[in-house]
Subunit: 344 residues, 2 copies
């Protein structure tokens, strides 16, 4: 979870309690009368991460005043929506682990601790189904409608990204469209729904959406940069996976657009070579390392980080302009910064 | 779609119009601003089948009287639930096409016209997400809750089945538990929700659920029998797929339980051989053909068909006892028979 210094300790305590409640609801919702299903659900624990989405719901709830002017607080509805958002996010992680034939040949089953692709598909479906089941325990169908709208958009983003695999001419605007949909739409919706539940007016809801969306885009940019230049130990997964999958991300697009035609063509050649599943590990690592060096030297990594920073600044300004000053508002600002420093 | 002779022509006309409306809503709901998503959604057409689930919703709606004693009719809510049920079903079909590594090696990509496993996963998710999005356009969250309860159960059934792959000692009761969940729960819910929307009392809702559930179980038994003994042309897919996947179905369980210990052991040996992805096609076909002969000679196919017939009789009796005589009730009885003769 987020490490935040110097925040109001009451808020931090409240948030900790709420997140523990979210974890309990998560486990409770997934419980089955079939033991084999419970065993699989236990696997999901290994996907449990930074709880970014639930935290966005809860902190937004605390930061925006209620309709009747009462002090902001979190409600059962917030904790349910927070659980639903985490469940949907976990489902996308489980489904992201589904392998293609080329990858299966290359990686064997090491990447996938679950028994088979088919089991991973069904386990992800089980999560999605339970997310909606839990969401529909709230009597206002509009909440489920908005969550589903966000997940429609997430799926579109994923499909758009798959469609653009191997498209080495991917434009910057198409890249932003992909990550806005696949990552940022759910983050935006988490913040918006917190406000909606508190009954704040539509303009505030939209500002909250914008804050979450910008955080989500920045988060994904940083994630993509780490895949290229991070430290495997810190990132916790093998690097260069986007390169292997011929997924162009912001630093590469910047490099292609701003380097000489010759250098750009050379980069594309290397990317094509990396997409070959038969490539041996040593050569793969050499290429990935060289790309990281080229991107740094060309300031393409810096460019991507700057774009992310600018989005974070905008997100923070919008919250300062729109919400009353409070410890929770401070927390929203700190969360935004944490996306950049990757304390999340 | 269902071919029914001698039914009240007004009912048939109504049903035809409603099903056309369901198809239109289905296409409308999936429309995206991204062309690549629309192209993929067009692939889904090839999965469009007999519209069993939407038909169950609509016919149940017409057969059970409304709370206020008015003549039964279908409403927008029925047509929406019918569309949602078809969308969920299509998602399971798309996800059933996800391949495992062994299968990929054996079949190449012929079985999967979509580009990759990953695209099939996301396209299925897109369908599920839109199903809930559409469902939540109805203000009563309880409808989405009940649909999600059914899809929770479907996923459990699929996971339970995957868990039991290669379990050649699978009991008859475990087999029924699998198909009750993976196939029959959604069919049951389709019928129940039609009554719920019409405001009929809970006992009638449960009878409707039972009718749909029994139809679903019978449907799956017949489907499993056809995989063993059907005609490839008629069934429209290659036979023996359950055998290759080491999925035991009712005729095999009956054979194992009622034949000599020696014959049962021999059958298990053949099943183990069939699960080998390296087995050549000629040998595979020889084994599948021999199993079909053994099952017929041992009356195991007849046994499975008898179980399905008995369920259909029970389903029909429950409807005759519970609902007023009407053309729609007649249609429910004909639908039950159609499951056996596989006009569906």
């Amino acid at each position: 979870m987020l490490v935040l210094a110097q925040q109001d300790s009451l808020i931090i305590e409240q948030l900790g309690e709420d997140l523990a409640d979210v974890e309990a609801r998560f486990a409770e919702e997934l419980r089955s009368d079939l033991e084999c299903v419970n065993d699989l659900a236990a696997h999901i624990e290994r996907y449990r991460g930074k709880m970014l989405r639930p935290t966005l719901v809860l902190v937004s709830a605390l930061a925006c005043p209620k309709e009747d002017g009462e002090a902001a607080s979190t409600s059962d509805a917030h904790r349910i929506i927070a659980t639903v958002a985490e469940m949907v996010h976990m489902a996308t992680l489980v489904h992201d682990d589904i392998l293609d034939d080329a990858e299966i040949r290359r990686r064997g089953k090491t990447i996938n601790n679950l028994t088979t692709n088919e089991t991973a598909v069904m386990l992800g479906d089980y999560l999605i189904s339970h997310a909606y089941h839990l969401c529909s325990s709230l009597p206002d169908a509009e909440l489920a409608r908005m969550i589903a709208f966000a997940t429609n958009t997430v799926c579109e983003g994923e499909l758009y990204q798959l469609h653009n695999r191997g498209n080495f001419a991917l434009s910057e605007s198409a890249y932003f469209e992909i990550i806005r949909r696949k990552t940022a739409s759910l983050c935006g919706m988490c913040c918006k729904l917190a406000g909606y539940i508190n009954g704040v007016d539509e303009a505030v809801c939209e500002t909250l959406y914008g804050y979450g969306e910008k955080l989500g885009i920045a988060f994904q940019i940083v994630d993509d940069v780490l895949d290229l230049t991070g430290d495997e130990q810190t990132v916790g997964k093998s690097l260069g996976r986007d390169l292997e999958k011929s997924k162009l991300t912001l630093p590469l697009i910047h490099y292609r657009e701003t380097s000489s035609a010759e250098d750009a063509a050379k980069m594309v050649e290397v990317l094509k070579r990396l997409s070959n599943p038969e490539l041996d590990v040593a050569e793969r690592e050499k290429h990935v390392g060289q790309i990281a060096i080229d991107l740094r030297e060309h300031a393409s990594v810096e460019y991507a980080r700057d774009v992310a920073s600018k989005l974070i600044e905008e997100a923070k300004e919008s919250i300062i302009a729109c919400l009353p000053k409070s410890a929770a508002q401070e927390l929203m600002l700190s969360m935004a910064d944490a996306v950049l420093s990757r304390d999340f």
